[in-house]
Subunit: 193 residues, 4 copies
């Protein structure tokens, strides 16, 4: 967009940040479906056109918020302590703990809606957030280490894990220890003791 030998003023970093922060704040408080461009513009003290100049839609705005870690600040990297059960359990507890935190009640709903409405958001959630990537890595490592059978369908394992969480979350179902332990027991081979 901005060539190297471009004339004119540079994009205002101040405005950019103010917009993203306002958008993230609105999503957290009111949910994605009550997010409006005008609301963001007002809250960010910015002209509407400044938003539309750089983002084509509110979902693109949310995608950028995600990319800048303004909505999901934590990375949820699974540990690699050698104990797969423990690592996955801890990872699950982290995520579930985050989703159960007071302010994050509607966040999952918002992100799912945003992702369903805009492939870019889905892509960001996929790639930039790295949930799948990190799980794949950890599970591939587990296969190498013999903690998982070599025939394990790693991608499906990730989908099943995250999918179960999302589904439960959408239904406002139980996201407690019963759930996480059930998942671990279901998806990981019995711990050899």
């Amino acid at each position: 967009m901005a060539g190297p030998g471009r004339r004119g003023p540079k994009r205002s970093e101040e405005a950019r940040v103010a917009i993203l922060e306002a958008a993230a704040r609105r999503v957290m408080t009111d949910g994605y479906d009550h997010l409006t461009m005008e609301g963001v513009a007002t809250e960010a003290k910015v002209g509407k056109q400044t938003i539309y100049r750089w983002w084509p839609s509110r979902s693109a705005l949310v995608a950028d918020c995600l990319a800048e870690r303004l909505l999901l600040p934590e990375l949820f990297v699974p540990d690699d302590s050698g104990d797969l059960h423990a690592d996955v359990t801890r990872w699950l507890d982290n995520i579930v703990g985050f989703l159960n935190a007071p302010g994050n009640a509607g966040l999952l709903h918002s992100l799912v809606v945003a992702a369903a409405e805009n492939p870019d958001v889905a892509a960001i959630l996929n790639d930039r957030l790295g949930l799948w990537e990190m799980l794949d890595e950890r599970f591939t490592q587990a296969v190498t280490a013999g903690q998982l059978p070599p025939t394990t369908p790693v991608p499906e394992l990730g989908d099943a894990l995250i999918g179960a969480i999302v589904l439960r979350g959408l239904r406002n179902g139980d996201l407690g220890p019963t759930f996480t332990q059930g998942l671990v027991q279901l998806l990981l081979p019995p711990r050899e003791t």
Copy 2:
């Protein structure tokens, strides 16, 4: 709403059906997020008030469409042939086949959005559609029959199965045989040969 000794005309079944069909058509063609009450009213040749008289919101409308099987006509009942692998594989192929069908491209997205925005829709998808219920039943039966270990966390198994499908669908990812076979292999114990 309509007392026994009520005066005046009865609720018009014609209008009711026209509205639901128009709504279902719109969701199928344009997606849930482009569904508008005015659009439905126009397409159903009905006054807006007639919609608002009976449904409080567009998501309630979609919930009713679901309940009337106008959006998901099939029931996806898992077989019980005694061969769990085969039954689950067939069930998965049915669902995936439906989702991959030409007209149903955006349907999953629409339903997820509707469910995320309105708990009633989520409840309908849960209860009335009976996906979880039927899976639970089949898996419980499998536990009884010794096809699954008695410790199997049945609810989580259902969530993992459906969750993986939904997640893949949302990302427009591969919903082919590799995926379904991977899921079966992952979630069911190895077939005893």
Copy 3:
């Protein structure tokens, strides 16, 4: 627009009047070029769409204000006392007095702009206001009565009279007795005494 056997609610006279009055007020205070649809809507406590439903543009709004005598309440009918000089002088003084009145400073400018931008406004000023028509009538009568030569080009006489006033007004020039007397002397044959 509204057929005779139309169902539905009737057009709200309250809203119609509020809009016209707000528009007229704005034109009087701020001038036609600062007239905005949003301003009118706000001042009339009306939705914007209610304005656009009935008037296609702000000039149409002004045209209607004129037609309803909200901007030019007086009719400026020339007398017919038999004394043409006196009658025309009185008519001129009326008009000039109106234009010179405190609140009406920018009105002429506004109306000229509105008329130049929208033929409908021009037509209203022509026909409904009846300036030309009344002058034509008076002058035709004068021709009949022998107060004007039979060859008098009556339409041009009206244009010259009104045109001179408009031109002076636009330039914020002198609109005093010198001007009116000059016009009378110029355009009417010398008084026979």
Copy 4:
């Protein structure tokens, strides 16, 4: 361009002319009310600031276009052949011919609007264009020569003449020979035969 011993570039004559020509072109084609600063800047390949540096408003731009004869190239100087009727008739025909020329349809409207909205434009039209001045001169000469009575209110005569034209033009009325002849007959004393 830059004189010797001068620091920094002088005002770009190229830019100035390009701006004025673009503005004049826009007024001729789209009319004054569709004239935009951004449009002129784009068409003149000039930064907006370069316009605002030298002209405070679009009406000032139009005023300058007038002053540079980019909009009204002709001067409309009345002849002084000794025959007042002929001279005025010729002058009227010139003006009317210009206004009736194909490309000049909306020009009168545009100029009237610009003049009504901005006194500077009105002043330019008054002074620089010299319509009134030249008419005054010619009529004063006519008075001296005895072609007009000594009591003729010369300024009002000019206003009546030009005002009639403007009014007719605004109403898109007839600007043909009937009109011009009528005006001459009305405003000038009968030709002495």
